[in-house]
Every structure is written in structure tokens, then in C-alpha cells.
């Protein structure tokens, strides 16, 4: 950049014109400011939500987490059943979605011919683009009646001896089970597209080596691909879990918004996110509003921890794979 080292420098204009110095500084300042604003927003979210929840935190303390009554009339609030509902729906959805997503990832990376790979991959990504309110609408009017008439009687007649599959209300349409299915549909595209990327990233030489030694395609997947991307798959599943934990709209449309929770999944229930979505506008007192913000704060903490965990796993996984480069 030093113009002085160029022979004909005297005839060239000086390269560091004042406008350039100002321009560089201005662009640096502006972009640094924008980046700082992004970080500030994260801090502000945590601060404002904690601050809004403060009146409820002062009244109920940490006991809010294991107290189960949520009653605006008596001003007694607790989130136990909401937390349980959130955990049950999210983990249920993850249990269904994880094996499906891994299988889809394998299909798209190893099995499908290239002419199928592209279109099917795009279609599955389009599933992620469908807004949650539309999936919820479909859940209310198509999935829930179908579940109530066909799936639930079938499942509870076979597995009814296990308490969580026990027969709930007759022909109940709004159930925890329907919410689990809706969430499964919503997280499959997220986890499966990450899984696909992971499987594609496995070096081809390893795969070819395994096949050359006589392994079938499944044995190659089991002995080469799965061990080398295990950490990544865990991270993908955790990211899907994070999405399921925080989904408010679609869940509140199908779950029935009811506590106390029943033991069976074929009955109405509620989750943290869906309770906030459902009661915010009808909040009857300042304490009720604060309790709902407290619920949102719990949700924030849970998803925050989940996402950081996924990041940690990804980081360690990348470190392993690249040897720390």
C-alpha cells in the first residue's frame, strides 16, 4: 500500500486521501455499531423478560417451577404441569423425528439417485417453510379428527396397558398426542437437512474403502458413517428439540390448553409457550401478566441452555473432525 515505494510515486495522487480515511473509519464504526446492536438485542431480551417477570418472581420465587396450580382467579400461579407438558411434547416429537430424520438424511445422501435427491431434498426443506399457524390450522381440522377416530383407539387398544397410552377422554380431539405429531412434522425438516449435510461430509474414500472390503451399504452406514458423525447428529437433534420446546402457536391450536395434566397423552394438556400464547390477552391482573412473563422466562432459559448445548456439541464435533484447525 505504500505509494512511496513505487518509482513514479511523485506523479500519482496520494493513496490515503482524507476522504478514504474518513470513509474507512465511518464504515468500520457503522458496521461495528450494527454488530453491537445485535448483541444488545440479545441482552435486552433477557433483561426485559426477567424484569417483566420480576413481580411474579418476588411473590412465588423458585417454587413457581414445582407448584402446579395456575389460577388467575385466586392469583395462585405455578408452572409444573406446563413444564411437564413442554418436556413430554418436545421429547415425544424428538423421539419420533430423530430416527426419521437420520433415515431421511441417509436416503438423501447415500441412497437416492441424483435425479431424486434434489427434488426430494427441496420438498423436505419446503416443509420447514410452511408457517406454524398453517400447520396448526391443518392440525385442528384434519389431523386432530383423524387422530381421535383412528389413531388413538388403535394405539390405546394395543398399548393401553401402559399408563401414558391409556384411553383418555372419548373422542378427544385436542390432545397432547396430536401436539406431538404436529411438532414432529415441524422439526423433521430441520434435523434431516442437518443430518444430510453431515452424511455428505463423510470422506468418500472411507465409504469406498468399506464397500471395497465387502460391506453392504447398511454395514457401511453403521460402521463408517454413523460413528464419524455421531456428535453432529446429536447436535441436530438438540436443535430440533429447541424448536419444539419454543413452538407456541401450532401447539396451542391443537393441545387443548388444559391443566392439570392427565397421565395419558390422549388427553388435553398445555405447554409453557402455548400457555403464554393463549392467556396473554385475557390476562386479568398485573400479577397474571407477570406470571405469564415468568413462564416465558422459563422458556427462554430452557431454550437458551438447549441451544448453547447444541453449539458446544457442534464445536467439539468440528474440533474432532478437523483436529483443531
Amino acid at each position: 500500500m505504500e505509494a512511496a515505494s513505487v518509482p513514479a510515486a511523485s506523479r500519482l495522487p496520494r493513496t490515503r486521501r482524507p476522504t478514504d480515511r474518513i470513509g474507512d473509519a465511518a464504515l468500520y464504526g457503522l458496521t461495528a455499531f450494527a454488530a453491537a446492536v445485535g448483541l444488545l438485542i440479545v441482552a435486552a431480551i433477557i433483561w426485559r423478560v426477567a424484569d417483566g417477570a420480576w413481580p411474579a418472581i418476588r411473590v412465588f420465587g423458585i417454587g413457581f417451577v414445582w407448584h402446579n396450580e395456575f389460577n388467575p382467579v385466586t392469583s395462585k400461579f405455578g408452572a409444573r404441569d406446563l413444564i411437564i407438558g413442554t418436556v413430554v411434547t418436545s421429547f415425544g416429537a424428538v423421539l419420533l423425528a430423530a430416527p426419521l430424520s437420520v433415515a431421511i438424511g441417509l436416503f438423501l445422501s447415500e441412497l437416492a439417485p441424483p435425479s431424486v435427491r434434489g427434488p426430494v431434498g427441496t420438498l423436505i426443506e419446503m416443509l420447514a417453510a410452511v408457517p406454524s399457524v398453517v400447520i396448526g390450522l391443518w392440525g385442528i381440522f384434519v389431523l386432530a379428527p383423524f387422530d381421535a377416530q383412528h389413531v388413538q383407539p388403535f394405539l390405546s387398544s394395543f398399548l393401553g396397558w401402559i399408563p401414558i397410552f391409556a384411553h383418555g377422554q372419548d373422542k378427544a380431539e385436542s390432545t397432547v398426542f396430536t401436539a406431538i405429531i404436529v411438532l414432529t412434522i415441524m422439526i423433521i425438516p430441520i434435523t434431516s437437512s442437518i443430518c444430510r449435510e453431515l452424511f455428505i461430509g463423510v470422506p468418500t474414500e472411507l465409504e469406498e474403502g468399506s464397500v471395497a472390503l465387502g460391506a453392504t451399504r447398511w454395514e457401511m452406514v453403521r460402521t463408517v458413517i454413523v460413528p464419524s458423525v455421531r456428535g453432529g447428529v446429536v447436535a441436530a437433534v438438540i436443535l430440533g428439540l429447541g424448536r419444539a420446546l419454543g413452538e407456541a402457536i401450532a401447539v396451542s391450536q391443537v393441545i387443548g390448553n388444559f391443566t392439570p395434566l392427565k397421565l395419558t397423552i390422549f388427553a388435553p394438556g398445555d405447554t409453557l409457550a402455548s400457555r403464554v400464547a393463549n392467556q396473554y390477552q385475557g390476562a386479568v391482573s398485573n400479577l397474571h401478566v407477570a406470571a405469564l412473563i415468568y413462564v416465558a422466562l422459563l422458556l427462554l432459559i430452557i431454550t437458551f441452555v438447549t441451544n448453547l448445548a447444541a453449539q458446544r456439541v457442534v464445536k467439539r464435533f468440528e474440533f474432532q473432525r478437523t483436529g483443531g484447525d
Partner: protein, 301 residues
């Protein structure tokens, strides 16, 4: 003459082949399930929604109580307004953040910003709604005259917070694809850094930024949760005033879906059809263009 080895697998080999075949069909079936889920959702929405589509649907406000007909014009206009506000907030901040990260920041700061943008992206959208409610709906900000009530600005801000990490992350990815040769060629000509960024780096990655923004818009247009407490009380008329609370497509679907009136259910399906067509078309085009610009930049490298 020795008989050659049997060509048909028997015993253990046969079992291995069968297991392999089972695993392959399982994977194909899983992919089929996901594609079927999309097909069923789109088909349900299409077959139920298409009947209610007519000129009145797009141009009229909702019918007064008891009357039939009516449309959703306020919701269409409202979503347009909200998304415009959100884009106006998220696009400059997202792109500038990405420029900072890819052109100026040191590695450690870069990783921190990436991490926190991912954390922001992972926040549930309902929490963002609660945040904006607590920030500028519930508490009047003396700075802005529009505090203490719901407004399109508050709703647009909530959507903007959701769009910000999406825009920033896609822009970062595109900026890292810009070949360093281009930057160095520009410096070699004596061009300063800010002019290089504005005249070389940004124009080269313009297509990628545009498609990233389009994807973020498609996502924001369908978000319901952030609008619940920030922009949900709306009148029956088309309203362009950003300091008023306006109707929006996703929230109208949400409210109609829980209403007892079957006529409203039909409108909800029709609106869902409009939304899904918009979202799927924009994401498809954006994805296609993004692939192309990645390929173009990838080839240049």
C-alpha cells in the same frame, strides 16, 4: 473341475443382504413420509381454501357480525406493512453486521458474534413477542410517542428481531464466498477499504443478500407468535398507519381457526392458502437463486 463359488448368497451372507435391503427400504419410507406430510398439508389447504378465493376476499374488509361474505383486505395490507417495517429494520443491521464480521472483526469476536446470532435465532418467537411487549407496548417509552399501545411498528420490530439473525447469517455466508482475489485486485489499484467493500464486495454478493432477505421475509410473513401481544387488536378497515395496530394474515388465521363460525373457518383456509403459496413460491425462487449465486461465486474461486 472344481465347482465355482455359489453365486447365490446363503446363510450369513443372505442375512446381511436382507438386513441391508430392510435398512434401505426403511430410509426410503422415511423420506416418503416427510414428502407425504408436505403433500397432505398443501393439498388440505389448497382443496379447502381455493373455494373462498374471489375478488371480494381480496378487496373487502371482514363482514359485520351476522352478515355473510366479506374479505381479508386489512390482513393482507397489514402483513405487507409489518413485513416492510421488519425488513427496513433487519436488512441494514443484518448486512452491516455481516460486513463487520467478514471484513473487520478478529477471529474471536467473529466467533462470538456468530454464536450470539445463533442464540438469538434459537429464541422462541413467542419470547421475542413478550420482549417487545415488555419493551415498548406495556411501558411507554418517552423517546417514541407511540408507546403504551400495540402498533404495526411494535409488531414490525418483533418480526425484525426474528429476521435479523437470518439476514446476518446468510449475508455472512455469501460474503465469505467473495473471492479474496477481487478484494486484493481492488487494493492493488489503490482503492481504499470502504470503497472496496461498497463497490466490489457488496455488488458481487448482492444476489445472495437479496435471496437471503427474501427467505427471511418468507419466514417473517408467517410468524404469528410475535404479533400476539404487539399488534393483535385491529379494526375492520384497511389501515396503512404504522402507529396503529393492524390486522395480519397469520394472526387472522389463528383467530379464525379458533372461532366457532364455519364461514370464518373457510376464510382461514383461504388465507392459509394465500400465505402458503406466497411462502412456498418465495422460498423456492430464493433457494434456486441462492444455489445459483453460490455456484457462480464458488466457480470464481
Amino acid at each position: 473341475m472344481q465347482p465355482g463359488p455359489a453365486l447365490k448368497a446363503t446363510g450369513r451372507g443372505r442375512r446381511r443382504l436382507i438386513v441391508n435391503r430392510l435398512a434401505e427400504s426403511g430410509a426410503s419410507a422415511a423420506a416418503l413420509v416427510a414428502v407425504l406430510a408436505l403433500a397432505i398439508v398443501v393439498w388440505s389447504v389448497g382443496s379447502r381454501g381455493v373455494h373462498a378465493l374471489n375478488l371480494n376476499f381480496f378487496t373487502k374488509g371482514p363482514a359485520v357480525f351476522g352478515a355473510t361474505g366479506g374479505g381479508v383486505a386489512p390482513a393482507l395490507v397489514g402483513t405487507l406493512l409489518l413485513v416492510a417495517i421488519a425488513t427496513a429494520m433487519a436488512l441494514p443491521f443484518g448486512v452491516l453486521t455481516a460486513i463487520y464480521v467478514s471484513e473487520f472483526a478478529q477471529r474471536r469476536i467473529r466467533e462470538q458474534i456468530r454464536l450470539w446470532l445463533d442464540v438469538l435465532n434459537g429464541f422462541p418467537s413467542i419470547v421475542i413477542g413478550v420482549f417487545v411487549f415488555a419493551l415498548c407496548v406495556k411501558v411507554p417509552l418517552p423517546l417514541f410517542g407511540w408507546g403504551h399501545h400495540q402498533s404495526a411498528i411494535a409488531g414490525g420490530f418483533a418480526l425484525g428481531v426474528i429476521m435479523l439473525p437470518l439476514v446476518a447469517r446468510t449475508t455472512m455466508e455469501v460474503l465469505t464466498l467473495v473471492p479474496n482475489d477481487l478484494r486484493e485486485a481492488s487494493y492493488a489499484l489503490g482503492v481504499s477499504k470502504w470503497q472496496t467493500v461498497l463497490r466490489v464486495v457488496l455488488p458481487t454478493s448482492f444476489g445472495g443478500i437479496l435471496t437471503g432477505t427474501t427467505l427471511a421475509i418468507a419466514r417473517a410473513a408467517g410468524e404469528t407468535a410475535p404479533l400476539l401481544f404487539t399488534c393483535s387488536i385491529a379494526g375492520q378497515l384497511v389501515d396503512w398507519n404504522p402507529s396503529h395496530s393492524v390486522a395480519s394474515i397469520p394472526l387472522t388465521i389463528f383467530q379464525y381457526s379458533e372461532a366457532p363460525d364455519p364461514a370464518l373457518h373457510e376464510q382461514a383456509w383461504a388465507l392459509a392458502f394465500v400465505l402458503i403459496v406466497f411462502v412456498l413460491l418465495t422460498s423456492l425462487t430464493a433457494r434456486f437463486l441462492l444455489d445459483r449465486s453460490h455456484r457462480k461465486l464458488g466457480a470464481a474461486r
